[in-house]
């Protein structure tokens, strides 16, 4: 592989002066690294808004009855929290920020296949986000349907539904363009020697994700369009008064929105498969098993949407089939978890911030996954459907799963992206605080849900008060951890020490180039001669060199 030495005779993509100046050098740049950072910053902005809304929601639940807001405001707040976190943060999440930045570098390419389309997808993302924000100030008031937009309520509500829906449609378009771009890039732009089974597992996970984005997103696109058409023209396709069937809306919605949770989690699994070998200094256990489990999740994940609808009215046959597939899809996820743990066995582990995040992830994701099985089996689901148990499960897999790994990815690649190092000790502290707060907040929700607390309710019975208070205090701890982490990263960005080319000793291609990478990624065209995790191989070579 190429030289490891830090070369100072180059212009990094951060310093590069192009055609445009100031902010335009960023928002008009087709460089995949700049687009990735644009996405990263926009997403962190929306994430901050989403966290604030979550904080307000939890604060409202601190005491019975009215605490700080009216019921209608509460409805709007949980809807917006859902829309922002799902459509603007977690779905684009890791692929749009880190995928854009590292996919081309991982396969030894200079850029993605369609750089202009890539920039266009960020613009669409921004426009979609602005639509959602803009809708808050329209005459109808903020949308209150919940992020699922279920008909017939979304047809009856007097709040502003069309603009947020249009926003979601545009965001879907952006997601599709990213997917098309990634699939084409992986097929066309791999460097010499970068065979399919030499690709880093992060690339494999992005590749599987991109396929889901292409296959699933159009379906929610048409579903959203139909609700808009319904609002304007009253065609009647989902309106029971005119012979339409609201259950069909739920089917179409979940045909996308279930695979979408794999759009959210698969790239996170890819990042985990990068971080563990790097810090255990060991070849990943079962490379091909992880590859095929990603593809299997992408495929089987398409066939389980019905488990969201066990109580909405379906035949018993479809119910047990969907339940069966839900159990099947747990297998590839479990395969991955076992492979990660097996990779660490007898590795020489170096404890550091990205690795600590991964440890937290494995615990939280396992709890989230297992409670998913509780919801996936028919008899227990009837009891737990639409309770806080579901909310707890969802946050364990999405926040404890994807968002924790999003943070892990920031910590893992921060030195590469910005060329600065952060304070490791402070990072570890922030992870610890977040982990404690997270469990206080969401594990309590499992108990609340099991006891019968329904989700999305503004008020609750007296016996739930203590548990609600524990959860709310947990949310404060969690947010304190997030703020500490943000402070640490911002401080590093402003005045961190200069990062070396390969601070962690990773073997994938991004560590062979200086930090931050040069404009065209590589000083010379890379030629790949070994797999991404061949630590043993390199050590042998190193020994031979040492002996001679």
């Amino acid at each position: 592989m190429a030289t490891q030495g830090v070369d100072t005779n180059y212009t990094s993509f951060l310093d590069y002066k192009g055609k445009y100046k100031g902010i335009f050098a960023w928002i008009l740049s087709t460089d995949h690294k700049r687009v990735g950072i644009l996405y990263l910053i926009s997403m962190l902005g929306f994430f901050a808004v989403g966290v604030t809304l979550g904080f307000l929601m939890r604060f409202e639940m601190l005491s019975q009855g009215r605490t700080i807001m009216e019921p209608q405001t509460y409805n709007a707040v949980f809807t917006l929290h859902g829309i922002i976190m799902i459509f603007l943060f977690i779905v684009p999440g890791i692929p749009a920020a880190f995928g854009n930045f590292f996919l081309p570098i991982h396969i030894g390419a200079e850029d993605v296949s369609f750089p202009r389309l890539n920039l266009a997808s960020w613009w669409l993302y921004t426009i979609g986000g602005l639509f959602a924000i803009f809708s808050l100030f329209l005459s109808g008031g903020p949308i209150d349907t919940g992020w699922t937009f279920y008909v017939p309520y979304s047809l009856r509500t007097t709040t502003e539904v069309i603009f947020p829906l249009l926003g979601a449609f545009i965001l879907g378009f952006s997601s599709i363009l990213t997917g098309i771009n990634f699939v084409t890039t992986v097929h066309r732009l791999r460097a010499k020697g970068m065979k399919f089974f030499r690709m880093p597992l992060f690339v494999w996970s992005l590749y599987s994700t991109a396929w889901i984005q292409i296959i699933a997103t159009p379906v929610v696109g048409i579903t959203i369009l139909l609700v808009i058409v319904e609002q304007y023209f009253g065609v009647g396709l989902f309106d029971p008064a005119k012979g339409g069937d609201p259950i069909l809306f739920q089917h179409l919605f979940w045909i996308y929105s279930h695979p979408a949770v794999y759009i959210m989690i698969l790239p996170a699994m890819g990042v985990v498969s990068e971080i563990i070998p790097t810090f255990a200094r060991k070849h990943i256990f079962g490379y091909k098993a992880i590859v095929f489990s990603s593809l299997a999740i992408a495929f089987v994940g398409y066939l389980v949407w019905g488990h969201h609808m066990f109580t909405s009215g379906m035949s018993d046959t479809s119910r047990w089939i969907f339940s069966f597939f839900t159990y099947i899809v747990a297998i590839p996820s479990a395969v991955k978890v076992f492979n990660w743990v097996a990779t660490m066995y007898k590795g020489s582990i170096k404890m550091s911030a990205p690795f600590a995040f991964v440890m937290a992830f494995i615990v939280l994701f396992s709890i989230g996954g297992l409670t998913g099985l509780v919801l996936g089996s028919l008899s227990t689901d009837v009891h737990l459907h639409d309770t806080y148990f579901v909310v707890g499960h969802f946050h364990y897999v999405m926040f404890g799963g994807t968002a924790f790994i999003f943070f892990a990815a920031i910590h893992y690649w921060f030195p590469k992206m910005f060329g600065k190092m952060y304070n490791e000790k402070r990072a570890l502290w922030s992870i610890g605080i977040m982990f404690v707060g997270f469990n206080m907040l969401y594990f309590t929700m499992f108990i609340l849900g099991y006891l019968g607390m329904p989700r999305r309710y503004y008020d609750y019975l007296p016996q739930f008060e203590t548990l609600h208070q524990v959860a709310t205090v947990g949310s404060w701890v969690l947010i304190a951890g997030i703020i500490l982490m943000a402070y640490n990263l911002i401080k590093a960005w402003r005045s961190g020490e200069k990062a070396p080319a390969n601070p962690w000793g990773g073997l994938t291609l991004e560590w062979t180039v200086p930090s931050p990478p040069p404009l065209t990624n590589f000083m010379e065209e890379p030629i790949v001669t070994h797999g991404p995790y061949d630590y043993e191989l390199l050590e042998e070579e190193g020994d031979e060199h040492g002996n001679s």
Binding site: G18, S29, I176, L189, P218, G243, L252
Partner: protein, 207 residues
């Protein structure tokens, strides 16, 4: 959708095969977009087979058939335009493109008359006539307007794309040895055609 130029001054990257992969993937998403509507059609046809039967009789088969032939012919002229350009005949290529657009326009005109005849009879979403009809008929016309409407929207987008192609050929941005843009535009046009091939029997012929 097209070959992209990487914005480094020194380096121009062209990958026709990659551009085509991207286009096919995009067409795939278009199929799935309509796929959602086809699923709805299937579900409702199963639920309201009698009413669908009745409502379909109201549609004008002649107009539908003429439109089908127009669209099929426009696909032919589209291919001829690509062939002409590949052989280096810029003028004919542009001529065939214009012809394709004329057909597209003809399709839209006929569609306009078809829709306005229906609306004239009081059959449109939310109308009183429709409110008196059975649920199945309401759904049939709802699907009819939504699906042909979305298809019409795609025709308009297609015409805009072809207009760009026309100007690209005129300004020699698309030439006999760099015609991937035109080919991809053609693929889009065939997709629009293909979707109509399915809409036509589902609405007009299945009594």
């Amino acid at each position: 959708m097209s070959t992209e130029t990487v914005s480094h001054e020194t380096h121009t990257h062209r990958d026709d095969y990659g551009a085509k992969i991207g286009m096919w993937l995009f067409l795939f998403t278009e199929l799935l977009l309509f796929g959602g509507l086809f699923i709805l059609y299937m579900a409702y046809r199963y639920q309201y087979s009698q009413e669908f039967h009745l409502a379909a009789k109201e549609l004008d088969i002649t107009m539908g058939t003429v439109n089908t032939m127009i669209l099929l012919t426009s696909s032919l002229t589209m291919v001829l335009s690509i062939v002409a350009l590949r052989k280096g005949n810029k003028l004919y290529s542009m001529l065939y493109l214009v012809l394709t657009k004329v057909f597209a326009l003809g399709f839209m005109v006929i569609k306009y008359f078809e829709w306005s005849a229906k609306i004239h009879h009081g059959i449109y979403p939310g109308s009183e006539t429709l409110a008196d009809m059975s649920n199945g008929q309401v759904i049939f016309y709802g699907l009819y307007y939504t699906m042909t409407g979305l298809h019409g929207l795609h025709i308009i987008i297609g015409v805009v794309i072809l207009a760009f192609m026309l100007s690209f050929i005129y300004r020699d941005k698309v030439t006999s040895d760099n015609y991937i843009k035109l080919e991809n535009g053609g693929l889009y046009w065939h997709l629009v055609d293909l979707i109509w091939i399915f809409l036509f029997p589902l609405f007009y012929l299945l009594h």
